[in-house]
Symmetry: C2
Subunit: 370 residues, 2 copies
């Protein structure tokens, strides 16, 4: 499974794995894929440094990357406290009432919320970047919008490829104009922030729009057949996030959440603004239902919604409030039915890919192994 891009990066399989867990990222790279660590959770530079130290020591010398969330538009002189002050009291009350209705306990005094999303804010993302560029990362991905020009320049100075996620051909062309090297075409069925256009339509559209830039397909990919389909559509690799959540190397800090993921079908996700204020696909839960209910107060715009719900999500996770417990995940969750190791997942993808190629060759009437 070799494309121009996988050859350039020196990896054996054109499978890019995005994950918040260093152990998963390391295992993906060790198994011949390309592990990409999500940095959004790291608000303290030392925490990121510690995990990058570990990651760098455990990839067996294989390449890996980092994913940050850096808005191209700068909001000057706005602190987290300023943003907090913009949240209406009625919304805070709705959070308290919803948690109380499900009997979710408070955090202990002084206990920090483990689930901060201030990584969305530019000053935090820039600190992450400063840390990351001390490491031999090969790829820097930006999950939201085009990265700022100086960031692209700094990455290129260090021979780091820059990728950015896009949900439309227009976004992808904007990224191209910003000088990035790889577009991740993120389809409607993907976990996390998505647009409305499905992978089957979006992938070739973006491939054509940014040619000759390489495109990775994201969304709806969790089997070798789907990897083969995405590459058939013109992608130079696949970008998988959801599939790793139920690997044995992942640490969701909640066996209840793992059970929910393993039980969920492809129809059990929803594209909701409940998490960040922008539409993001996630498990459908009593929590997303409450926010999406027309009778409720509705969600706030990014970044207010994320700040509003950060502590609540920590409490839901810590006390495993099952009806409310969720996570960003794509429609592919229906294929995640057993905990497996990363190596086994990648081997299955490769085997399924080869079988799918056999199949399409038979349909095309080409000779080949069958």
């Amino acid at each position: 499974m070799q494309t121009e891009l996988s050859g350039q990066l020196g990896i054996e399989r054109a499978v890019f794995g995005f994950t918040p867990f260093p152990a998963v990222a390391a295992a993906i790279s060790r198994a011949g894929g390309f592990g990409v660590l999500g940095a959004v959770r790291y608000t303290a530079p030392d925490d990121l440094r510690r995990d990058l130290d570990w990651l760098d020591a455990h990839t067996g010398g294989r390449p890996y990357g980092l994913d940050v969330v850096m808005p191209a538009k700068k909001v000057e002189g706005v602190s987290e406290a300023d943003v907090e002050a913009m949240i209406p009291e009625g919304h805070r009350r709705f959070v308290r009432d919803t948690l109380a209705a499900h009997g979710v306990p408070e955090l202990a005094d002084g206990e920090a919320s483990g689930w901060r999303i201030t990584g969305w804010m530019e000053q935090v993302a820039r600190t992450q970047l400063d840390v990351a560029l001390d490491y031999p990362i090969r790829l820097l991905a930006n999950a939201l919008g085009s990265p700022p020009a100086d960031v692209v320049a700094r990455a290129h100075d260090r021979d780091v490829l820059v990728a950015a996620l896009a949900g439309s051909a227009r976004h992808a062309r904007k990224h191209q104009e910003a000088g990035i090297d790889i577009v991740v075409a993120q389809g409607y069925e993907a976990g996390g922030h998505t647009g409305e256009i499905a992978t089957m339509v979006l992938t070739p559209e973006i491939v054509d729009a940014v040619d000759p830039l390489p495109v990775l397909a994201a969304g709806g990919i969790g089997s070798g057949r789907q990897v083969a389909a995405a590459l058939t559509l013109g992608a130079q690799g696949v970008w998988l996030g959801s599939l790793w959540l139920t690997t044995t190397e992942a640490d969701l800090h909640s066996s209840a959440l793992t059970r929910k993921l393993l039980a969920a079908g492809s129809g059990d996700t929803v594209r909701s603004r409940a998490l960040t204020g922008k539409p993001a696909r996630q498990l459908r839960t009593a929590w997303t239902d409450a926010w999406d209910d027309p009778a409720g107060p509705g969600t706030l715009p990014m970044p207010l919604q994320g700040l509003l719900v950060a502590e609540a999500l920590s409490r839901i996770q810590k006390y495993e409030a099952e009806p409310l417990l969720g996570t960003p995940v794509g429609q592919i969750v229906g294929r995640m039915t057993a905990e497996r190791g990363v190596q086994e997942v990648l081997d299955d993808l490769t085997r399924g890919f080869e079988e799918a190629v056999d199949r399409i060759n038979r349909i095309a009437g080409r000779s080949g192994p069958s």
Copy 2:
């Protein structure tokens, strides 16, 4: 491009084309695909007979099929007038006001509404079926739910294969239990009635769920790469509807609508209840916006919505009220940028398919033509 199913039907390419236009259906079959005429518009049996006579005479002896809309659940003793009486006056006023706001003239006295959707009603669909079974159709497709048992039996008595559309694995298994022969997996990105699950996820899910029944993939397919991807996912063929709307053989009765289709991008459709009361993907227009506006009265359930808007749609179409003018169409509308003949469309699909197979073989490291 040969699968078990295309071999069984004796067609050269595993491309099934659904269309309301006999000239398009005939051209698809003549060009080696499989043309399927949509019957929902035919409320008068003689009209259907006239068009099937023509179709049968113009396929050059190649096989073709018919698509009806037949609910499995029977509503006994309910007439169209009974259903009409259930429509609230406020909704009728909203229709009148919306048309008036855009200056759409009334139909002339006695002028029939050309766009009736009473084909949704079972008695009409049964009449269509009685007509169709006088012709050597090879396939009977049902667009909404499983066909009734007696219909499946009558079709099988005449060696007619029965297909049904499904938007989830659960629906597909219900169809299988009803004794049908082919499942059309209709993804979120498709035109017309769709569920939430995208083609990339839905196709393999349904292939696995109903194995060994053959599955056709629908939704997001408008190029040879997409045909190849769908077959790679395990489908035994593709089911295309939108792509034919801008062929030279199609007759939309509105050059303004054709222009709108050619200009639309993949982001210019919406999944709305405005047309029938169930979510159906269509061009986004001022008309769908009005129905989807939370400030409006909202849509009525099927079949009320369809009856409510039937005359309005005729007026919008007849007077080419451009901001309101729409049609069911999938996200693939972004690839429909020029009027072309059906034969050329099919030749392009085949050429693109072969190139995509070349590509995936290079990625898989298999020798082959390149």
